[in-house]
């Protein structure tokens, strides 16, 4: 069967949605929330169907690559010619499915969560715009187009984080996200320059794949660890680190939780932050020839995973815990890619999309039910009032912790197994085993913090204010009367529950396409990931396989066990501790404060100085000084007008004398 390449439709449908919904404001139709919901979800649903069709037809011809050129551009000197197009291959097909699929579920969920918001139309138009930008990023067939998509998702993120722009904290968070992202954009731009200078083209077929020999890498012509190649790959990774919130550029992601929860679910869990993982996988043919860069990737991934998990242990905002969890899980993906197993990275990307989006949705349901409360110290005992939310949250928690047979178990094990296999191969570097240890430790921490969250929020007794009460007095009155502060708390509406249940189902069975015995995903992706990609090298052999399974499981269970001991009671241990380690973690290692001191304050100070000296002194003072000068001169000149006629006569005489003398001197008779 021929491949149905519907990628252009997948790209253009969300764009259309953005434009249509955005223009509703002009026609004054922006209050028809029902129509907006149908439009918003409809465009994305159509895009998803197209992506699905493309994917299905591709499965019958895995090695095929379908390139649709949209536009060709040559500069006037003829030196640079770029052909802008969309590429449908195994990798992009998978990514498209994730983006449009999870995106669709979140669009549906948002109809419930954002119900009643005055800027409903703006939300859906931005959300559609984001889908468009993400599709652009993923389906581009050259680096220039990729850059456009890269920047566009940054823009979408900015717009959506700062959606409630009346809140100064939201605006600040949006700015922070954008600024940190720009650092990554800078890296990508430099990489593009270097790529062009080295390869003479910007298209994937020229750079990643040798055009004369499809399947072979173009970079092989340059040998291993070529300095320029290392520079390029490191710059590319800089972009990934910024976009995917790795150390030290992770600081924007926790602040990004200021945006609406569905936004956090879509952009900062399932799709945008995974762009970095996608990029490394896409450029696997470059990274394979720069092993040094791969070590950097793995190292930073591992460090980030552990670092972020440690912070998540003690956070008290439900969304912050999930944000740090995202950072940590992204580190996992980079660890796998750094070890060479790009397919495992993508695998974990997909499963993470399912359970992280699910977890965020459940958090959103809780926040929605408690009318805006996000502090878990004020929650508790919600299990009875919100059984469905509890159930799906539990599924998500088990998935992220990596308990068999949930999706997270298989993908996490793919990552850990890769590290173990690479570490125990003959002549291998022991660092792989170090990374393996880091991965195990992170798994332990992950189990702990996610179940801490579950127990504190859903078990025990409710510790918060009476929900729905306007004042303290009213809260107390209600409690006296009815004795149940959670009287007004109700389960999430069905429109929010359906996507949650859907994602829960995916979190349960979604790992089965990547098990070591039937790794469908790796086989599907193999042709795209380079000629060196042999999936079998990443699976530990024999007994090691069971050891890897067991170790991961044990680590997770240990973490859950500690959480049970500490938090599964009527009054869980929630008092803030004085000890310095706790404070260090609570304050996120004081990194934000460090950045503020070292980077922000000097720049702002320099700006103020410039304002005072250049703006005030030079420019302002220049123009004011000019005016002053003119004034003084005119005052000086005014003294000539003395008012005395005799003075004027004197001036006349002087003039006449000048003429006389001129005549004498110059025109000698």
């Amino acid at each position: 069967m021929q491949v149905f390449d519907l990628t252009p439709l997948v790209l253009l449908l969300p764009l259309l949605g953005f434009l249509v919904i955005g223009s509703l404001r002009l026609f004054g139709l922006h209050e028809h929330t029902e129509m907006i919901s149908w439009l918003g979800c409809g465009f994305v649903a159509a895009a998803f169907v197209c992506a699905l069709v493309s994917f299905v037809t591709l499965t019958n011809a895995i090695t095929s690559v379908s390139d649709t050129t949209l536009w060709s551009w040559t500069d006037h000197t003829g030196n640079l010619s770029v052909s802008i197009g969309l590429r449908l291959d195994a990798l992009s097909a998978v990514m498209l499915l994730v983006v449009t699929g999870v995106g669709l579920l979140i669009h549906i969920y948002s109809a419930g969560y954002m119900h009643g918001d005055p800027s409903y139309w703006r939300y859906y138009s931005f959300l559609n715009f984001f889908i468009f930008a993400m599709v652009l990023l993923v389906a581009a067939d050259n680096f220039l187009f990729l850059l456009v998509g890269w920047a566009a998702v940054g823009l979408a993120s900015y717009l959506l984080i700062g959606f409630w722009y009346q809140r100064p904290s939201a605006v600040a968070a949006a700015k922070k996200a954008f600024v940190v992202n720009v650092i990554g954009d800078f890296g990508l731009l430099l990489a593009i320059f270097l790529l062009y200078s080295k390869f003479g083209t910007l298209a994937y077929t020229g750079i990643l794949f040798d055009p004369r020999n499809p399947g072979a890498a173009a970079a092989s012509a340059f040998g291993v660890n070529d300095p320029m190649l290392i520079a390029i790959t490191l710059l590319l990774f800089l972009a990934c680190a910024a976009k995917s919130a790795q150390l030290p550029l992770h600081v924007w992601l926790p602040d990004a939780m200021e945006g609406p929860t569905p936004v956090s679910a879509l952009i900062h869990a399932a799709t945008m932050v995974t762009a970095g993982v996608y990029l490394v996988a896409r450029t696997s043919n470059l990274f394979n020839y720069a092993p040094t860069s791969l070590w950097v990737v793995a190292g930073i991934g591992g460090a980030t995973a552990l670092f972020a998990a440690s912070i998540a242990l003690v956070q008290n905002d439900i969304k912050r815990v999930l944000a740090y969890s995202t950072i940590s899980q992204l580190g996992y993906m980079f660890m796998a890619e750094g070890a060479g197993n790009y397919a495992a990275g993508i695998f974990h990307l997909t499963t993470h999309a399912y359970f992280k989006a699910l977890l965020f949705m459940c958090a959103g349901a809780v926040i929605h039910a408690l009318e805006g409360e996000q502090d878990i110290r004020k929650m508790g005992g919600l299990r009875k009032k919100m059984p469905w939310t509890y159930g799906t949250f539990l599924v998500g928690g088990l998935a992220i912790a990596g308990i068999v047979p949930f999706a997270g178990f298989w993908s996490k094990d793919a990552v850990l197994g890769t590290l173990l296999a690479q570490g125990t191969a003959s002549g291998a570097s022991p660092w792989y085993l170090v990374l393996y240890g880091v991965g195990l430790a992170t798994a332990l921490l992950t189990g702990f913090y996610i179940f801490r969250l579950i127990f504190v929020v859903f078990h025990g007794t409710y510790r918060g204010e009476t929900v729905g009460a306007e004042t303290q007095a009213e809260a107390r009155a209600r409690q006296r009367r009815r004795g149940d502060p959670l009287a007004r708390v109700h389960e999430a509406p069905w429109i929010m529950l359906v996507p949650m249940v859907g994602l829960a189902a995916l979190s349960t069975i979604g790992g089965l396409y990547g098990t070591p015995w039937g790794d469908v995903l790796s086989q599907f992706l193999a042709p795209v990931l380079g000629i060196n990609f042999l999936p079998d090298t990443f699976v530990p052999q024999g007994a090691l396989l069971w050891i890897s399974f067991g170790a991961g499981l044990v680590a997770a269970l240990m973490g859950i066990g500690v959480a049970i001991v500490m938090y599964l009671r009527r009054t869980p241990a929630l008092k803030p501790m004085r000890n310095p380690l706790y404070q260090l973690l609570l304050h996120k290692y004081w990194l934000d404060e460090l950045y503020d001191w070292v980077l922000v304050k000097p720049v702002v100070g320099a700006g103020r100085l410039a304002n005072r000296w250049i703006e005030g002194g030079l420019l302002d003072g220049g123009s004011r000084g000019l005016a002053w000068l003119v004034g003084k001169t005119s005052i000086g000149l005014r003294t000539i007008q003395s008012g005395y006629a005799r003075n004027y006569a004197l001036v006349l005489l002087v003039g006449a004398l000048i003429i006389l003398l001129y005549y004498i001197v110059m025109i000698r008779p």
């Binding site: 008012g643 005395y644 005799r646 006569a649």
Partner: protein, 102 residues
């Protein structure tokens, strides 16, 4: 017969002219200033007459005649102005008319 060169007359004319100029600049009584102006005009008249004699042309005489007429008209109007300005004052000083200052 008068000497060949008109130098003497012209020097006298120049000196008288200068005296008139200095008079205009130094004195403060408007009438004396006016008289100095007349002095200047006459010095120029002398100059014209000298040249009429030495260039042997009647044009110089005509010029003098016209200057004379204009001077008469000017004196009339000028004195009328001075009278109208200073009629009511006790002392007459041209420096008092300094309202154009600044």
């Amino acid at each position: 017969m008068p000497p060949d060169q008109p130098t003497g007359y012209l020097i006298v004319s120049a000196v008288l002219f200068t005296i008139g100029v200095v008079g205009v600049l130094v004195r403060r009584n408007p009438l004396i200033i006016f008289m100095s102006i007349e002095l200047m005009l006459n010095a120029v008249n002398l100059s014209f007459m000298t040249f009429a004699r030495y260039l042997d042309s009647v044009d110089g005489w005509i010029f003098v005649f016209l200057v004379l007429t204009v001077a008469a008209a000017e004196v009339v109007v000028g004195l009328a102005i001075i009278v109208s300005i200073f009629r009511t004052r006790r002392n007459i000083d041209i420096d008092e008319l300094d309202s154009m200052r600044g």
